[in-house]
Symmetry: C2
Subunit: 235 residues, 2 copies
DNA sequence: GAGACCCCCTAACAGCGTTAGGGATGGCTA
DNA sequence: TAGCCATCCCTAACGCTGTTAGGGGGTCTC
């Protein structure tokens, strides 16, 4: 009883005996794998700007600085999380008859993953190159499919990046532009109010789509048609 | 002289008379326009993660909270900056004979702007819809060009977003993946070391391009070919 | 039994965005 | 001319952030 000390946080009294002991809580110890799972959970449930070391630590039944034993920096956590979700889809390669269907299959799985974790699409655009093994594996599948279709050299590179930008871009655009019906209404009114300045946008009636899947698929068709044309040209 | 008071910052002595008077420094007063210029300067020179209210205020010869008289939040500053740079290019519309050249002209100017301000491309992917007047004006030009080419309805929408994602995506990819020769060398070694897992990437020799302009142009060609095919189909 | 290593802890730092509220200035009104 | 009100910048401080310093208990090795 004489051991009680005053702590500055809230001025409440806490004794050593009342301090929560981790061992008594049956929490398993930390590990990189457990941490990454928790990071993804926080990102999925609360969004990227709510991911903090302390919140993450709390979810793991641990104090924030403990995380730094397993990880150098918070950015590492996000890199790990991004790579982890790219590992969710099974890395199957070319199975179909035509390269076109293979590309569609690969990118659709890719897109589904990105929409399942809406925070993910915007990350690679902001950071140094993603070189996690799962991400590289996906790139390998995509590029291998294109290579087997006949692309080589700079044309292979351009085709890869064009498709990459299409999936990542459309997913991040879609995630960022999730707006309520009310916001959409306000936006349309804004456009109509300035219909002299934005006649086409106002006539189209909306700028922010509501059929993102359709836009993705149609856009992908354009891209694939263009790629096919390239193949026909060189063949 | 008796007026000297001790301040807590550094414990140094500062008197009212020595306090810097803004009027004596000939600094013009704040204005939204001056602030936005300063924001862009900080972003260009120091990058987005170095943009802080205090640093920005210092550049303006002002204390940080003063900014909140002109602006509600830091995000507003970034929104304003993004829209401002989209106003740099003159909003000229269709001038050429063929829609294809018009699209190329619009997107090239767009791309040049984004590369001049490498922080900008990644921003719209992260936030709520950009509805600044300059941004909308660019979208209007792009969509009007496509509409005049014959696109309507969902196909117009898909075409717009596909081109949008291509410019934004390639610019942000390029900006994020600016790596040194050393890093590129390390990356290539990493790929070669795991060439069993990534045979195509390893054979290609590099994942992160060094000819971004070429990739952009070639990718755009693919897209435009696909769009042309769509027009031919419906015509 | 000693020592080394692993792994989590407490405490604290500097920096962040933002708010509360004070006070000087300048133009408008009585 | 006196008072008032809006404008616009200031000081002070809040709670939160990522991160570091350093302590100490547990376990495994010799």
């Amino acid at each position: 009883m004489a051991d009680k000390r005053e702590r500055r946080d809230g001025g409440e009294l806490r004794s050593v005996w009342l301090r929560p002991r981790r061992t008594s809580k049956e929490e398993p110890p930390l590990s990189l794998a457990r941490i990454v799972v928790a990071v993804i959970a926080v990102l999925d449930e609360e969004g990227i700007e709510r991911l903090t070391m302390r919140r993450l630590a709390e979810r793991l039944g641990v104090m924030a600085p403990s995380l730094y034993w397993h990880v150098d920096t918070k950015d590492d956590l996000i890199d790990l999380a991004v790579d982890a979700i790219f590992g969710e889809q099974s890395p199957r390669g070319q199975g179909s008859l035509h390269w076109r269907e293979d590309v569609i299959a690969v990118l659709s799985a890719w897109r589904a993953t990105l929409l399942r974790h809406p925070w993910a699409a915007a990350v690679p655009a902001r950071r140094r190159p993603a070189i996690g093994p799962n991400f590289l594996a996906q790139m390998e599948i995509l590029q291998a499919t294109l290579a087997s279709a006949g692309f080589t050299g700079v044309r292979l590179s351009a085709a890869t990046w064009a498709l990459y930008n299409h999936v990542m871009g459309s997913a991040s655009t879609e995630s960022a532009l999730q707006i309520t019906d009310e916001e959409r209404r306000v936006g349309q009114e804004l456009l109509r109010a300035h219909r002299d300045r934005y006649p086409t946008l106002a006539a189209q009636g909306y700028l922010y789509d509501d059929d993102w899947d359709g836009s993705f698929t149609t856009g992908l068709t354009y891209l694939l048609d263009g790629l096919q044309a390239q193949l026909d040209r060189t063949a």
